[in-house]
Amino acid sequence: MADVTLRAITKSFGDVRIIKGIDLEIADGEFCVFVGPSGCGKSTLLRMIAGLEDITSGSLSIGGREMADVEPAGRGVAMVFQSYALYPHMTVRDNISFGLRMTGHKPADIEARLRRAADMLQLTHLLDRKPSQLSGGQRQRVAIGRAIVREPQVFLFDEPLSNLDAALRVQMRTEIGKLHADLRATMIYVTHDQVEAMTMAGKIVVLNAGAVEQAGSPLELYHRPRNLFVAGFIGSPRMNFVAGTAAPAAHGRIEVVLGDGARVLLDGRGATVTAAQPVTLGIRPEHLTAGGGGLRATVRLAEYLGSETMFYAQLADGSGIAVKADGLAKAAAGSTLDIGINPAACHLFDKDGVAVIHGDLTR
C-alpha cells in the first residue's frame, strides 16, 4: 500500500509562507495531478513529498508511515525532474543503473531490472549512448527508466513534458498513462498545463497561492468547480464570467439580471439568494449559442477554426464574452450577436467567488 496522506502541511522559506496548510489524500495506485499557475507551490509540494525540502509543519505519510524524518531514499519514491537531471558523463545504461549500483544491489538483479525498464521504454538500442546523443523524447524516457528500475511505490513527476514539442508531448502523455496502467504505482504529476491534467489524471488537485482550491476527478472539476478560481482554471477555452445581480423567483428559481439588463432564469437547486444579491454568472463558451438568444453583444473578433468558430464579443457593460459556435457560423467584426444561454449550464458564484449553483449538465 502506498497511499500518500498530507495533513496540514506548511512550508516557509524564511518568513515567507509558500505552502499554507494542505490536507490531501492520494489513494494507492492513483494518478494524481497537481495543477496551478506558475509559482503557486506545486514543485515545492512535490519536493516536500520527495524529501528534498523539509516540512515546516504538518505531517506527511506514505503507506501509513510518517515521513518527516525519513531521508529521500528511504521513502520509496522516485522522481523525474523537469530538466531530466541525466548524468552527462554516464551512458544510458549507467544512468539508469547508477542508483542501484550505489546502493549495493546484486549485478544480476540490476541487469534484470535494467532490461525490463529498457524494454518497456524502447531504450534497448540506446543503452550505450551518452545523454548528449539522445533526442528530447529519448532523454525523457531515460529519466523515466531511472525511476522505474528502483521499483518505487510512488512516482513523482515535475513537469516532465514541458521541454518537449507538442507532438512528442501528446505521445509521451499516452506512454506515461500506459506505464501507470502497467505498474499500478501511485503517481503524482505536476503540470501547469490543464489539458495534460484533464487527460491524465484520476484526481486533479488545483493549487493556488500555496493552498488547495479543489481536489477531485477531472470531470467533477469541470462540471462542479467549487469557486471562481477553479472554474476559470479548468476548461479550455476559459469559462465566461458576467457580473450581475440575483434575486429569488417563483418555484425556487433564481433570476439573474446581467449588467446590460438581460435576464436569465436558473433552477435554484436548493440554493437561496437574497434580493439584489451581487453575483457572477459563469458559463462556458461551449454552452452558449450564437444567435437566437437574449444576450446582445458586439462581435470584436471571429476565429474560424473549421471544426468550430470562436466569437469574441463585448457586452453592453464592456465585459468580454467568448462563444464557441458551429464551424459554419459567420459574423463580421462589429456586427451584433444575440447570444443564447443554456440556463442549465450556468454556474453562479457569490461575491466571495464561492459557487452557489453548479451548472452541472451531467445531472
Binding site: A50, G51, L52, E71, P72, A73, G74, V77, A78, M79, F81, Q82, S83, Y84, A85, Y87, P88, H89, F98, G99, M102, T103, R146, R150
Partner: protein
Amino acid sequence: MFPRPIQKSPPWLQLSYKALLPVALVIWLLPLIGIAVTSVRPSSDLAAGNYFGWPSRFAGVENYASVFQNSNIGWYILNSFKVTIPTVIGAVGLSCLTGFALAVYKFRLNLAVFFMFVAGNFVPFQILAIPVRELTLRLGLYDTITGLVLFHAAFQTGFCTLFMRNFIKALPFALIESARVEGVSEWKIFRHIVLPLMRPAIAALSVLIFTFVWNDYFWATIMAQSADVRPVTAGMNELKGQWKVAWELITAASIVAALPPVAMFFLMQKHFIAGLTLGATKG
C-alpha cells in the same frame, strides 16, 4: 560583435589592420625579443658594443650550455618542479572537497567560510611571512621542499575553493537531488557524479596554480636557503648577482627559467584562460 568586424571595412583598412598586427606585436614583445636575441649572442659581441645589431654569430648552444654548466640552474629547476607539482595536487585536491561542501550544502556558516577563503586569498604575503616562517621552523620544515609545499598548498586552497565552489554551483543541482532520491551517499555523489564533471575545472586550476607557484619569488626567497631547496626564481636572483654583466648568460637563464610555465600555457591554453577569466563572463 564589437568592434565592427574588419571584414566589413574598406579593403585598405583591412590591409592596414593586417599590417599593423605584427608591428604592434613586435613593439609589445620588444623587451622579450631583445633578451631572446641577446641570449644567442657571443660574449664578444657585448664586449664590442654590438648590443642591437645582428649577432656576429649564433652562440645559442654555447651560452645555454654554459648556463647549465656554470650554475645550479638545473637543480633549481628540479626544485621548482618538486615544489610546484605536489602543491598543485594538494591545493586542487583539497579545494575539490571544500568547493563541493560550499556549493552543495546549506548551513549557517556557509557564506562565512566561503568568504574566509576569498578574503584570505587577497591578503598581502608580508602579513603572513613572520608567523609562517616561525611555524615552519617549529615544524622542522624550514628550508625544505615540504615546508614550501605545505604553505603554497594551504594558500592556494583559497583561490581554488573560490573557483571550485562557483564551478560546482553552476552545475544543475537536480543532478545531486536526483542521486539523493536514489539513496546515493553523499561521498558517492561527490565521487561519482560531481568529480567527473569537474574535470575542466581541475585542468584549468592545475595549469593556473602551476604557473602561480612556479613564478613565486617571495616565499622562495624567505623559506629556502640551501641550493638543494631553492626554486629557480630565487636562483635567478642569485645568478644575476653572480654574473653581473654577462647578459648573454643571464638572458639565457631567464629564458630557461620561464620555459616550463610558458610551455604549460601554450599546451593548455584553453584551460589556462578559462581559469584566469573565471567569473569574468558571468556573475
